[in-house]
Amino acid sequence: MSHQPASVPAATTTGAAGHHDEHFSHHVRRYLFVFYALLFGTVVTVLASYIPFGHRAVNIGVALAIACGKAFLVAGYFMHLISERKMIYGILAFTAFFFAGLMALTLWAYGDFPWHTVTH
């Protein structure tokens, strides 16, 4: 069964199909690199959790730092945020502001927190 479409995506109809494919082959190589980096990051996260850094807070910091690096790779390359339109950056700036506010309110509430909540 043929799945040849009635029309093809814009760039391939402009007579620049070869260039377009080459452009995407470059992207594909980058995606694979990001994929390997994410796998590597996952393994490092697990191994780092077994290293006693002296204080649990350091272990938490290391794990979250690696997670932030992985998140940057996914958002930046798989979600194309490193080369996105201003409109998207605007939406994300608002999101970051409110997310930071949410976390700040959490920290603000820290002093009023009912200590020693029963966890068992």
Partner: protein
């Protein structure tokens, strides 16, 4: 009626409408998961020393699931790139992989949930706590009428009369399974009559605040995985007919569903270390 700007970008935004829509939706999703993450932080910092669980989740299984989700992210982006390169066959292959990987993720998560729902914490009338997975339960087992018996594969701890370091070391046998005390616990078959049991409960969301936030976060995430897989399944199956009539719009649909899928992966990137490792 034609929906405007499904393919051509609007002049003011420079984007087709669905892309603005999905990013606004993802922004709301950030706040949803952010609220739950902040709840996690508050619950954790407010817990009594020694009572916040460590090592309750199987790290190799969680790592495997993380790798599954990361792999599904690359197959998703490759499916979109295949559409862009006019390779519909490859699109079908990559998204078939995505759907299979999504099902694998949910399957592994179900296995983990099952493990928690068969794991019991039993408070005995002698003050000890028995902890382990159920082996068998007699048909007439009834905690209210005190009839029958239950057998578990686990161990006992005795917190009564202990304080200071002695209490912390005993607590680690239950709460810190990555500590030497927790790792070296010997598990055996233990049988109890109902009359010996004061109360018992599984490691479901009702066990403590850790399991409550664990099931809430991972359950909500799993719902997102299922929802995303359904959309991708539609685009792979009946929805793929659009490729013949309007390939650019179809490619945009693949991109939008892909953005959602990558977000789901992104959430898991933080959930995994927070819940499994720290």
């Amino acid at each position: 009626m034609d929906i405007p700007f499904t393919v051509q970008p609007r002049q003011d935004t420079g984007l087709y409408n669905a892309k603005v829509g999905i990013w606004l939706f993802l922004a709301s999703e950030v706040m949803l998961f952010g609220a739950l993450f902040s709840s996690y932080i508050l619950l954790r910092v407010g817990s009594i020393e020694g009572y916040w669980p460590h090592g309750w989740l199987n790290i190799p299984v969680g790592t495997a699931n993380t790798l599954v989700l990361i792999t599904s992210s690359i197959t998703t982006v490759m499916a979109w790139a295949s559409c862009k390169m006019n390779q519909f066959g490859k699109f079908k292959f990559y998204h078939a992989c995505t759907i299979l990987l999504a099902m694998t993720f949910v399957g592994i998560k179900s296995y983990e949930y099952h493990d928690k729902f068969t794991h019991y914490s039993i408070h005995l009338t002698n003050g000890k706590i028995a902890d382990g997975h159920i082996v068998s339960k007699s048909k007439d087992f009834n905690l209210v009428n005190k009839t029958g018996e239950i057998e578990i594969h686990g161990h006992e701890v005795d917190l009564a009369g202990k304080e200071g370091d002695a209490l912390q070391n005993e607590l680690k046998k239950i709460y810190d399974l990555r500590s030497p005390e927790g790792r070296n616990v010997q598990h055996t078959e233990l049988k109890y009559e109902a009359a010996q049991i004061d109360s018992m409960k599984t490691y479901g969301p009702w066990q403590n605040t850790y399991t409550a936030i664990y099931f809430t976060l991972t359950g909500l995430h799993a719902l997102h995985v299922i929802g995303g897989a359904l959309v991708i399944g539609f685009l792979w199956g009946p929805g793929s007919k659009m490729w013949k009539t309007d390939p650019e719009r179809f490619t945009n649909r693949v991109e939008i569903s892909g953005l959602f899928w990558h977000f789901v992966d992104l959430v898991w990137i933080f959930l995994f270390p927070v819940l499994y490792l720290l």
